[in-house]
Symmetry: C3
Subunit: 198 residues, 3 copies
């Protein structure tokens, strides 16, 4: 129950980022809801397709779609509210990042992937929605350009696979992984950390 | 037989939209045919991948590819003709929209999806090709920005699932759904209807 | 062993094209490695998803990811070296094109696709990475706009399916196909051949 709430809160924050972007780009109401859905679900959908878990969870049942519709309506009707809530939204986004990373890593492990590739697929779960959102607005994905975002997700996935290696329970490694990913993301935001430009 | 013709006519109209866009963007002959193929088939391919029906129909057999090659050649050699035929092409596109929406919804229902998600997947079948075309020319997808297009497809899918609920035959609900979707699309075009900007 | 080396050399050249593009676009270190991975693997991943071979080879094991990390680091740390090595990189890229085309065609045939569609899927294997790279930098894909690239890949695939038809061994048709594709690509580059604009 608590996990489902976390999942929906994270998905809602991701969906808000898609809906808000669509409003900024002057998409119509359908486009706003569609981009909210993509931002919330594209990572998990790609992961599920890659591990053969079809139809993907976000397609097989309605909660993700409902969250996207709600976030789209909020983004279109309450821009001022979102602007005032910038910090909470950022925190929820970081929570979603950590949650999606550990859940994605666990699903990939259960599908038989090796630990390294499972952690990478967990990371893809967490960053895929933002990449989809940026591709659909014809922009080079933010996550590839700056800030510590994918690396935080990768840390979460790495904790999960290392936790397995040292015999932690699934619940413990998921909790530590999600907290580590969310914590690194928020710390990086707080101090303006970036990766080198190469 | 009649259905196959409708399917090919709709696919041809979609392919023409891809081929014409590629000509406008100065793609070479391969790019023109490729974009025609994407515009005609991307929606159905994504649907088939999401429901696990692989290889997708458009990959498993040649008619879709042949229609795309033909549409690409027409787009590259007969731009004047297409300009004169703008209205017929628009009508075929609306026919393709309705046809793809009801066929996609039925395939999703047969794959075990819930009615609501099946209607959404039917809509994705109808709009996916245009999204693929726009992504490959680095533009925010038209369908997310204006006109009544996805909503018309969703109406077609909704008629199919509601028809099932009230006991209509597959043929009846498909016919009513396709006519409703095509009709709404053409009416919206005729009167210049748009969704609100959010 | 020799084949694996060819595969890795081709993948490395593809990955360099992704990493170099990312450096040019000022992506951060994660983006550089990610784009290198996409350029090297997106074609094969899409092919595997379309034929139902999941998880795709590039996800199931680590060599492709390792090659991408290496190429990304080279692209970010040794731009001068890459500029001086432009010709070798171009040759490796052409080798990768031929190799990916024949391997992709064979995999598609083994998955039961018809010869024509298998050759097309082989071509997609070879060009998919470049398309993914260009989409993620919000540019219309190079392969759709100019030069003889996809056509060379298609020639390689066609040789494989024609070789099967006339009773050649897999090894012979793969060798002739890869040499033909690579040769056509290099010849076209040498003489500046392009397809007509339609």
């Amino acid at each position: 129950m608590f996990l489902t709430l976390l999942d929906l809160a994270g998905g809602f924050a991701f969906a808000l980022s898609g809906g808000t972007r669509a409003v900024e780009r002057r998409f119509d109401l359908f486009g706003i809801v569609f981009l909210a859905f993509v931002a919330a679900t594209a990572g998990g959908i790609v992961r599920d397709v890659l591990i053969g878990a079809v139809p993907p969870a976000a397609i097989a049942s309605w909660p993700s779609a409902a969250v996207a519709v709600l976030a789209g309506l909020v983004a279109s009707r309450a821009r001022g509210l979102i602007a005032r809530l910038a910090t909470p939204v950022t925190v929820f986004d970081a929570v979603g990042l950590g949650f999606f990373a550990v859940v994605g890593t666990r699903k990939a492990l259960d599908a038989g992937l090796t630990p390294v590739m499972a952690a990478l697929l967990g990371m893809l779960t967490a960053i895929g929605g933002g990449i989809g959102r940026d591709v659909l607005t014809a922009e080079p994905p933010m996550v590839l350009r700056r800030e510590i975002y994918a690396l935080a997700a990768l840390l979460g996935g790495a904790v999960v696979v290392l936790g397995d290696a040292v015999g932690w329970s699934n619940g413990l490694s998921a909790t530590v992984g999600a907290v580590a990913a969310t914590g690194l993301r928020l710390t990086a935001l707080r101090f303006g950390w970036n990766l080198p430009r190469g």
